[in-house]
């Protein structure tokens, strides 16, 4: 085909680029096996316990239960957008919670203790970023190493025990309510919105997605890919710390390993979320769908009285099912 023979080879619909319809969010969600899985789960649990499952109290419970995971999964989303992943998010959150608790027990004012804990998360993220972007370690090795050291630090800070008797003002952050809904839910929503905005509308978000799309292409296009990765890990560390501090406030106590479950669940949530967009890139909306699946699963199985170990088995199976469904669809395209 010789395109020079055509006078205007650009097709008609490019004339109105700005109005070219994007696939609407609804379309996008409905076309995804992951979203179908979520809907199927909700219908299933609703059918099993129509009296309980969709009641205001239970929905509120689900949101409360997944709020911290949503924050950690948000952090994981950022690093997975740049094409890496971070094994240390949950350990970082535990350490941040432990640091805040220990400082407050030592008499430090609440805001200051929180600030220090946030700084700890930021520094761990910065260390990850430096090791990966500038020392060229693989994300797996670097974050596995920091995971190990950070867990050790958390044990040191807590002296291997559980710290409690935290100030009531601090615990209120995790246990307080506004309009009957627990504060962590609002904080999780706010953080998700901020991350969504940053990823979608800022130059930083562009650079992150570009770096995750192809490091070499991005570098040759003038993107400072090292700085992009460094920032991704640093911000992920900071956001993880927020999650950890909130968890400590919610529980009213801090132990070295209390956030550990969130590591695997955060990765699972991002993976689930990657299936809802055509490009297969990590994205916040998808991650939140993933978080919802995990939350609904765990809550629903609880209501049905299934024990925690079986829940874990089923969660794994659901992840496989949803991702397989999506990849089958991609292949058939």
């Amino acid at each position: 085909m010789n395109m020079t023979t055509t006078s205007n080879p650009v097709l008609e619909d490019s004339a109105d680029i700005r109005t070219t319809p994007r696939r609407s969010v609804g379309q996008m969600l409905l076309s995804s096996g992951t979203v179908l899985a979520l809907i199927a789960l909700i219908i299933f649990f609703f059918a099993m316990r129509p009296d309980v499952f969709l009641s205001f109290t239970n929905v509120k419970n689900i949101l409360y239960q997944v709020a911290i995971l949503a924050i950690i999964a948000g952090a994981q989303t950022i690093v997975m957008v740049v094409g890496d992943f971070d094994l240390s998010v949950a350990a970082t959150s535990s350490l941040a919670g432990a640091v805040a608790a220990s400082l407050m027990l030592g008499g430090m004012p609440i805001p200051l203790a929180i600030l220090v804990a946030l700084a700890v998360g930021l520094l761990i993220g910065l260390a990850n970023g430096l090791l990966i972007a500038y020392v060229n370690l693989s994300a797996f090795v670097a974050t596995l190493a920091t995971l190990t050291s950070v867990t050790g630090l958390a044990f040191i800070v807590t002296q291997g025990t559980t710290l409690f008797n935290l100030p009531a003002g601090f615990n209120a952050l995790g246990q307080g309510k506004f309009l009957e809904i627990p504060l962590p839910v609002f904080i999780a929503i706010a953080i998700s919105l901020i991350l969504w905005f940053v990823l979608k509308y800022t130059t930083l978000g562009r650079r992150w997605y570009a770096t995750g799309g192809n490091v070499e292409v991005s570098r040759l296009s003038g993107v400072n890919v090292r700085r992009a990765r460094l920032l991704a890990f640093t911000i992920a560390g900071l956001v993880s710390a927020i999650g950890g501090i909130l968890l400590t406030a919610r529980l009213g106590s801090a132990s070295a390993v209390q956030g550990d479950d969130n590591l695997l669940f955060s990765v699972a949530a991002v993976f689930l979320g990657m299936t809802i967009v055509r490009s297969g890139a990590a994205n916040i909306v998808g991650t939140m769908v993933g978080v919802a699946i995990i939350g609904v699963m765990s809550n629903g199985l609880n209501i049905l009285g299934v024990n925690a170990y079986v829940q874990q088995v089923v969660t794994g199976l659901i992840i496989i099912a949803a991702v397989t469904l999506s990849s089958l669809k991609t292949r058939s395209r």
Partner: protein, 516 residues
């Protein structure tokens, strides 16, 4: 089935040919890579396969070894038609190719490398180490090599690795060996060793296909030669009856036509000055490009031409040397971002891995190099992205359903236009292009040549690297040829002669200029 039954009217396949390919046609995405390629190699001969880059040699080799299957045409072993469904089938039929880069598995021992896979002697799933070592030693002895069997193959020198690969081929009873540029990384003495082994294999009746850019070697070593051009086999001849000048002119051919726009846009204002540049391969390179000029850079693969562009564009660090755009001198190894800001843009060599993000949309790809111009205060403006995308798609005639279409779904030519659109949105003063038309159909090639000339007419200085001499001559105003990191020759394109340029490519400048 015998070939006589299948083709009663056509020439009979050569019964003595250890391996013959006839009338091979192979298309990729509708573009002919091979169109009437053939090769016939006899037992006990070393047969050179020659041709310029892109002539189709490597595609033909991949068909001979079962890596690709031909769209039409046939393969024969001793006159008998064969089909190589995959590499294993070809290997079982005794046809083995040795590639420079994947000749051995570096992490295992020499002995294991020689008797890989099915060749590994085993009983009940256990490796018979003693038998393994004995048989490996026997193979090495048969080609007079003394390489310690227990050494890791990765610790060997390149020539030893090649020898181990030979031994492995012999262990599988290879009767046809295909060697792709086997001497590329060898020293003169190592080449002598290699030739001795090749000659002894020839004595043993092995048929050898020898691909090389080094014509002197061909004349020293080979019995016959086959020349390919544009996917076709042009001629096969005894080396004894051939002359090197004839071989070069046959490789180059004669056809340019109306593909290229007129020259004559160069000014006298210097746009880019490179002084005494040193990199990993690049040595002592100095040159100037003027506004409105198209400078072509040629040379063999590995001559340093791509590295030169990458250094100038900030994509690769350099050891020393000065790069000046207009009146501004760039700092050493500025990085791509600062080079772009200074007005230097690179269209890189590998479109799919360096040029575009295949999974991203056209507009996201174009925005990538223009993030600061489509944003303010850190926020990206969708309208401004749409603007530059519309302009780019219109100016370059990019064919796509919509600006949101993933670039991976476009044809190669349109992908390349996306790369160009991305860089042209920066309005560069100096545009560097590495193989801008590789893997692109002729129609789009012509468009790109016109575009290059338009840019030059608008005052841009364009530097293009190309492996194809006709393209280099057709689109450039002036040509530099690189050989082993240095500039080995310079010519005005209007006065250029492919044979002289090819001689420069092989570092033989002096034969044509003056004496050494």
């Amino acid at each position: 089935m015998t070939i006589l039954d299948a083709h009663p009217d056509t020439a009979v396949a050569e019964p003595t040919a250890a391996l013959e390919a006839r009338d091979i046609v192979k298309r990729f995405d509708g573009v002919h890579a091979l169109n009437g390629a053939g090769l016939s190699v006899r037992a006990g001969e070393i047969h050179a396969l020659l041709g310029e880059n892109g002539a189709g040699k490597s595609t033909l080799i991949k068909i001979l070894t079962g890596l690709y299957s031909p769209d039409s045409g046939s393969l024969h072993r001793h006159g008998e038609e064969v089909e190589f469904a995959n590499v294993r089938v070809a290997n079982h039929a005794g046809v083995v190719a040795l590639y420079q880069e994947l000749s051995v598995i570096p992490s295992i021992s020499v002995a294991e490398n020689i008797l890989l896979g099915e060749q590994t002697p085993s009983r009940g799933g256990l490796v018979q180490w003693r038998s393994l070592r004995r048989r490996a030693r026997a193979q090495l002895d048969s080609i007079n090599q003394r390489i310690p069997l227990g050494m890791l193959a990765g610790d060997l020198t390149p020539v030893q690795q090649t020898m181990v690969a030979f031994a492995r081929a012999l262990a599988t009873d290879a009767r046809v060996l295909i060697l792709d540029e086997p001497t590329a990384s060898l020293t003169d003495t190592e080449i002598k060793d290699l030739f001795a082994v090749l000659r002894s294999l020839r004595e043993r009746g092995v048929a050898i296909v020898y691909v090389s850019h080094r014509l002197e070697e061909v004349f020293e070593l080979c019995d016959r030669l086959t020349i390919m051009r544009n996917g076709q086999t042009i001629m096969t001849k005894d080396v004894a009856d051939s002359h090197i000048d004839e071989v070069i002119s046959t490789m180059v051919g004669r056809s340019t036509g109306e593909l290229y726009p007129e020259r004559g846009t160069a000014t006298t204002t210097v746009a880019l000055t490179v002084t005494d540049l040193h990199g990993r391969r690049v040595k002592d390179v100095s040159f100037e490009v003027h506004r409105g000029e198209v400078l072509g850079i040629g040379g063999l693969a590995g001559s340093g031409r791509s590295e030169l562009l990458r250094i100038i564009s900030g994509a690769q660090k350099h050891v020393r040397g000065e790069i000046t755009v207009g009146a501004t001198s760039l700092p050493r190894s500025p990085g791509v971002g600062r080079a772009l800001d200074a007005g230097i843009a690179l269209v890189p060599e590998e479109r799919r891995s360096q040029g575009v993000i295949l999974g991203s949309s056209i507009q996201d790809n174009i925005a990538l190099a223009n993030i600061s111009s489509v944003s303010s205060l850190g926020l990206v403006s969708g309208a401004r992205i749409a603007d530059i995308t519309t302009r780019g798609m219109h100016d370059l005639h990019i064919k796509a359903r919509s600006p949101r279409q993933p670039v991976g779904e476009l044809s190669g030519g349109n992908q390349q236009k996306v790369v160009l659109a991305k860089m042209l949105a920066r309005n560069p003063d100096v545009l560097l292009m590495d193989e801008p038309t590789r893997g692109i159909d002729v129609g789009t090639k012509a468009e790109i040549y016109r575009l290059i000339r338009q840019l030059a007419a608008g005052g841009t200085a364009v530097v293009t690297v190309s492996s194809e001499l006709p393209e280099l001559i057709g689109m450039s105003d002036r040509i530099l040829i690189m050989h082993e990191g240095r500039i080995s020759g310079e010519m005005l394109a209007a006065e250029a002669d492919e044979e002289v340029l090819l001689a420069y490519c092989y570092g033989k400048a002096n034969e044509h200029d003056d004496h050494e």
